[in-house]
């Protein structure tokens, strides 16, 4: 497969700028770049979701033009998107045959399930074909997505950031599956922003930066510094410096959780008897594959979700049934994972978003009215001190970049009366510069004596920043490590998969 001169713009901005990329059978070619570099866009072009503004694509030496994903699929291109693209209410087999050209009008379930079981066994991807997607775990869903590619006899397999939702052991398993497929002659495109993984699995590496190809080389000839230089422009490999030092004395306990039980939206228990203590001046990390109760725990601590049983204390005050507003007033701030869906109101402007978590107090509101002048004043100072790039205070925040949106949320949450910060996936989807900014702010909050609860799927981040690290699996804390380091990765991985260090 060859892609030549691919250019694609959105809103006048070039997401891909004259990109060349090719793939040979039996190789793993990695597409490396930081968040926002244009990797997903390029692959969306390749799989027919987007039309390129300019450029050509060749498959097996033939010029092709994809008018829709159907064309790409028929040419043997398969993709596992970051968000899987599976229909939740349909079963595994229904998702697999969706869009199949030679599907008869009346669908024959048994024959299809047979074939699925066959493929399952061949590649070690175990799933129940009749299960509805919404009942499957994320790891299982990814297996379904991979099976789908194989079912449609794809020859070119694209994996977009496949490891972000897996435990270290599952990543191993995935890599061995990839090597197996390599031997069978498939061409595999591996998209990632994680240097280490790219090194481990790929034969060739192409680096994208700001939509342009910076360079393309064999994995054997590359070094982490070279790649970092190409990715970001500096040889800082993005490895987080372990500059923190554990405090000599432990801070006073500020948040005590005892046996918390919280249910999710489906009514099932998501947090199953969780206990821990957060201390002032400390970063407490929680590791775990997404979907194991972190979201529900974070919301419970922020007062947004009901704690069914157990107790929560802020120093000595019982806050188990405190509302979100009460928690904010007590100094418990929350940076949610979903920036645009929860943390901000995208259609409202900067000032209105700054007011979101403090409008009920004076001086922002007096009686029945909001003092917008005061809000504007406060917003202006926040924008300046956090260096938020925005055309103005009256611009709807959906026009800000992801990084600036996150800065805005941080600015708002960190700005007054901060005693405890619950931060959920705070650096997800941000480029290197914004990521560093966020991490720095977390560290400075810690230095100023606040407690920080950091929930993240990025193990490196957690290891570098946390003073204590807990691992959550199916709503239970599998273990808590003090002063975690790189040597604990295996143990942590086992805990993430449900194997407790005590068993």
């Amino acid at each position: 497969m060859k892609m030549r001169g691919i250019t694609k713009s959105f809103y006048g901005m070039k997401a891909n700028d004259c990109v060349d990329f090719d793939l040979r059978g039996g190789e793993v070619h990695a597409l490396l770049g930081e968040n926002g570099a244009g990797k997903s866009t390029l692959m969306s072009v390749l799989c027919g979701l987007y039309h390129p503004d300019e450029g050509t694509i060749e498959v097996e030496d033939q010029r092709v033009e994809f008018r829709s994903p159907r064309d790409a699929i028929s040419r043997g291109i398969g993709i596992v998107h970051q968000h899987f693209m599976l229909v939740p209410s349909l079963t595994v087999w229904e998702n697999l045959v969706l869009g199949s050209k030679d599907l008869p009008f009346v669908v024959n379930e048994d024959a299809i399930c047979e074939r699925i079981k066959d493929l399952s066994q061949r590649y070690g991807l175990d799933v129940d074909p009749s299960a509805p997607i919404w009942t499957l775990s994320i790891g299982e869903q990814q297996r379904v997505a991979i099976l789908r590619m194989l079912y449609h006899e794809a020859k070119i397999l694209i994996l977009d950031e496949p490891t972000s939702v897996l435990t270290p052991q599952e990543i191993e398993h995935l890599f061995s599956t990839i090597k197996h497929m390599k031997k069978e002659g498939y061409g595999i495109i591996f998209i990632s922003h994680k240097l280490r993984e790219v090194f481990e699995i790929s034969d060739r590496i192409t680096v994208l930066r700001r939509g342009k190809v910076v360079g393309s080389l064999n994995a054997r000839e590359a070094t982490p510094e070279m790649l970092a230089e190409m990715m970001v422009g500096s040889s800082d490999t993005g490895e987080i410096p372990r500059t923190k030092k554990s405090p000599a004395t432990k801070g006073k306990p500020i948040l005590i959780a005892e046996g918390l039980v919280v249910r999710n939206d489906k009514g099932l228990v998501a947090v199953d008897g969780v206990s821990f203590t957060l201390r002032e001046g400390q970063i407490f990390g929680i590791a775990g594959v997404s979907g194991n109760g972190q979201g529900e725990l974070a919301e419970a601590l922020a007062g947004m979700r009901r704690i069914e049983s157990g107790k929560l204390y802020l120093v000595t005050e019982d806050v188990t049934s405190a509302s979100a507003r009460h928690m904010v007033d007590l100094g418990v701030k929350y940076v949610p994972a979903d920036r645009k869906g929860v943390g901000l109101v995208p259609n409202m402007n900067v000032a209105e978003n700054v007011a979101l978590r403090k409008y009920w107090h004076s001086p922002y509101s007096k009686g029945f009215f909001i003092d917008w002048d005061e809000v504007h004043r406060h917003s202006k100072s926040l924008v300046e001190s956090y260096e938020i790039l925005t055309p103005g205070l009256d611009v709807p925040v959906r026009m800000l970049s992801g990084g600036n949106q996150q800065k805005l949320i941080l600015a708002r949450e960190l700005s007054d009366n901060l005693r405890l910060l619950v931060a959920m996936q705070p650096t997800w989807g941000l480029d290197v510069k914004a990521t560093a900014f966020v991490r720095e702010k977390l560290m400075s909050a810690r230095a100023e004596g606040a407690a920080v609860l950091l929930i993240s799927e990025d193990l490196d981040e957690l290891l570098a920043l946390s003073d204590e690290l807990a691992v959550i699996y199916r709503g239970k804390i599998m273990g808590i490590l003090e002063g975690p380091g790189a040597g604990d990765i295996e143990r942590i991985g086992l805990m993430m998969a449900g194997i407790s260090s005590n068993s």
């Binding site: 947004m304 507003r325 929860v342 943390g343 109101v345 979101l356 409008y359 029945f368 009215f369 909001i370």
Partner: protein
């Protein structure tokens, strides 16, 4: 040649006005086509409409008289739409308000006209408010779809009206016609300049200003705007959405109910079936067209008032049913919806050499 559809980044006021104007012109044009196919001369029909509504003092006064209930119902609807709560029940709440104040007139006699009218207003607002608030309660408590509940309550309200007006409230001296006795002097809102423009116009204007202030600058206004734009962020902000849904539906219903009282006390001065000619539904178009802005609502209400008065003239002069106006309303809405697309997207044609 390829047609490229791109999302717009921004749009100027000039472009917006152009799109809306073009939509309305196209709507009237297609209305003309429809009329032509029905054997009606569109020029004659449109001419009649303008003659009836805008050509003389009487016509304009009638239009203003219609603007009053339209403005109030549109404000009611716009308030709920701000929170993306679909109050389709303004028609029923309007009727309930009229029913309630008529009941007060029938069963109570208060000497002081000011107090009487105030009591009528309060009773009408509460009735309309409860009618709307019930749907709000169902939505808040069990997430019952408010479009359907408010609509069903419209039908129930009309039937309730029939029940009373054909039944125990019928005026014995009315020769069998279903209508209540005329309201006494002390239960009437004054009319001005020898026209049918009544004091309800002050209700409308005051409400418009009130709503503008509350929504733009009020704490509650901010809360319902956040809830409407992003319900999850509203939870994050500690906004009590359930309470706000009920409140917004109550207030929305109350405003529509008050409109019903104004229509009774100011215009008709007696209850009879068929006084509700669809203001509650037209209010939805007006609110949407005016993008929920109270001042714009007043102007758009005037235009639609002209449409109604013109339609009534058509009924008299050319014996076309009032439903013809509904066709025009539907067409206007279709073209406005179509125009929305051009507001959000830009179409460009690219010529590419193969």
């Amino acid at each position: 040649m390829r047609i490229k559809i791109e999302k717009r980044f921004y749009i100027t006021k000039w472009q917006e006005t152009l799109i809306i104007s073009a939509s309305i012109v196209l709507a009237f044009f297609s209305g003309a086509v429809v009329l032509h196919f029905l054997g009606v001369s569109p020029l004659e029909a449109y001419g009649m409409m303008i003659k009836g509504s805008l050509s003389d003092f009487y016509g304009i006064s009638e239009t203003v008289a219609k603007t009053i209930p339209l403005t109030m119902c549109s404000l009611a609807v716009a308030l709920s739409f701000t929170m993306v709560v679909w109050n389709i029940g303004a028609e029923g709440q309007f009727v309930l308000g009229a029913l309630a104040c008529t009941a007060l007139v029938r069963y109570m006699d208060i000497d002081n006209p000011l107090i009487m009218l105030a009591a009528m207003g309060i009773v009408a607002s509460i009735a309309g408010g409860l009618w709307g608030g019930f749907a709000g309660f169902l939505k808040a408590k069990w997430n019952v779809n408010e479009i359907i509940t408010t609509l069903m309550m419209n039908y129930i309200a009309i039937l309730l009206l029939q029940y009373f007006v054909y039944g125990s409230w019928r005026d014995p001296t009315s020769l069998g016609f279903p209508m209540t006795p005329l309201f006494p002097e002390g239960a009437r809102l004054p009319q001005f300049f020898g026209t049918r423009i009544h004091a309800g116009i002050f209700f409308a204007l005051v409400l418009a200003v009130l709503i503008w202030v509350v929504v733009r600058k009020g704490v509650w206004g901010y809360e319902i705007r956040v809830s409407g734009q992003n319900p999850k962020a509203a939870d994050y902000a500690g906004i009590r959405s359930a309470r706000n849904v009920m409140l917004v539906m109550f207030i929305s219903g109350a405003i529509a109910g008050l409109a019903g009282m104004a229509e009774m006390a100011g215009l008709h001065r007696r209850l009879q079936p068929g006084f509700a000619i669809g203001y509650g539904y037209t209010a939805i178009i007006i609110a949407w067209l005016a993008r929920l802005h109270p001042v714009t609502i007043i102007f758009v209400s005037f235009l639609f008032g002209a449409l109604f008065v013109g339609g009534e003239n058509l009924q008299i002069a050319m014996r076309l049913p009032l439903s013809s106006v509904q066709i025009l309303q539907g067409l206007i809405l279709f073209f406005l919806l179509g125009g929305e697309f051009f507001r959000n997207y830009r179409i460009s044609l690219t010529f590419k050499k193969r």
